[in-house]
Amino acid sequence: MSEELQRGKIVPFWKIWANPIVRRYARSRLRPVSLGGVLLVFVLIAAFIFFSIRQGAMGQGKLELMYAARLPIVPLLVLQGLILFMLGTGQVAGAMTAEADEGVLEYQRLAPMTPLAKVVGYLFGLPIREWVIFAATTKHLNAALYL
């Protein structure tokens, strides 16, 4: 027992994909059942915003497709802002409070990682579902920008 296990090198803080805290939350917050429903809702909302504004501008506003497609950019950015700044921040704050209450935050505190790696882990790990939703709604934004 006194001999230590062979340990790998310390993961630099910028290697987000190798950060144990990010991987832990990727596992718990990206389970297909819970992610699928939320993802579908937000993709449908983004699609509704995109198509309703574009079609409205083309039909009633008589705008050409190129100009009509640009109009949903601001509403889509607002939606993505809500996803990241409201849901993401809320998730970080809520989950940190819950973990502190439960006492499991202490396990993370005791993890032999640099403080910066832990901060990065929480910053990108806890709202990982919101990051995925953000990425999924970006295709609507791309469509608005480059169509």
Binding site: P20, R24, Y107
Partner: protein
């Protein structure tokens, strides 16, 4: 400051004006199961939290396996295995995921190597068949065993276990006791606190008693019992039949107190050294009282702790 596995020198922890741990010094050699005993508020958990690097002391020096935990906290965390009292588990992870996360934070190899270690630890605590269950679905005892598995995961050289046996059934307790003793034989140092004192005395190779932040005594169970136990000895004598004469005779001796008769069995407290006790018992045996057997009962740990706690209340 690096002779033993755990070296504490002049450790003090204050919460405002309240002194939780008052200048304690302690040295625990490698390969020991060391018990920390004391009533509620004795300062055990504060000491444990400092050792686990979860709290900074007001002052003092602490080294674990030769690493100064205040100077080199991150390195110290690699050799520490900490199990808190009423150990919590996350509600959103399965058993193997919880253990894999800890293996990952300790960089125990790739996915396959980590999984092998997870299986090994689940096997040690007999939770293999539950590996895909949710942590939140476990009973209290199973949760304790899971957190013990987490504590073992990175093969720590110093294990700090706060009430590890709480919530465990007698069989699991015995298994845990054997597991800890086996770990100590392998070179790990185990610091453990428990309120089940008889069990702690059986489990630990040495222990210390804390009260109101002070270290009252440390050493083997026998040494601590000698130092803190009552000065009088409790003696139980059994006679052939109920005997009024012996009770009258006992009452005349000033060294005897608290005489209690239950049929042919009489218990009393005797104040005196070993030689005086031998003389007293010889007189009793040759006095024609029909003495059949006698037995000396030492102070149990339960008695010692009750004595310490009662002292606190009076003061």
């Amino acid at each position: 400051m690096s002779a033993g596995a755990i070296e504490i020198k002049d450790l003090r922890v204050d919460y405002g004006d309240f002194v939780a741990v008052n200048d304690i010094s302690l040295s625990v050699p490698y390969g020991e199961v060391f018990g920390l005993v004391g009533p509620n508020g004795a300062g055990k958990t504060s000491t444990f939290r400092v050792l686990a690097t979860l709290m900074e002391p007001t002052y003092g020096e602490v080294s674990l396996a030769g690493i100064d935990i205040l100077e080199n906290t991150e390195r110290a965390r690699e050799v520490i295995g900490y199990m808190p009292d009423l150990a919590p588990v996350p509600s959103d992870l399965k058993l193997w995921e919880f253990l894999d996360f800890h293996a990952d934070t300790h960089r125990l190899g790739n996915r396959k190597e980590r999984r092998a270690r997870v299986d090994e630890c689940l096997d040690i605590v007999n939770l293999t068949e539950k590996e895909n269950a949710w942590c939140k679905a476990l009973s209290r005892g199973q949760t304790q065993r899971l957190v013990l598995a987490k504590t073992l995961m990175h093969r720590p050289s110093v294990m700090i276990l706060d009430e590890p046996a709480s919530g465990l059934d007698p069989l699991s307790r015995r298994e845990m006791r054997h597991a800890l003793q086996k770990l100590a034989k392998g070179g790990a140092t185990v610091l453990v606190s428990s309120h089940i004192l008889t069990e702690l005395a059986e489990m630990c190779s040495s222990l210390c008693v804390m009260n109101e932040g002070n270290l009252l005594a440390s050493g083997t169970a026998e040494q601590v019992r000698e130092k803190l136990g009552k000065k009088e000895r409790s003696v139980r004598a059994t006679f052939l039949a109920e005997n009024e004469a012996v009770l009258s005779w006992l009452r005349t001796d000033s060294r005897i107190s608290e005489i209690q008769a239950d049929g042919p069995e009489v218990t009393f407290h005797f104040v005196g050294n070993d030689e005086e006790q031998v003389g007293f018992l010889s007189t009793l045996a040759s006095g024609g009282f029909g003495l059949k057997a006698f037995e000396e009962e030492g102070s149990s740990f339960e008695d010692i702790l009750v004595q310490v706690a009662e002292g606190n209340r009076k003061s």
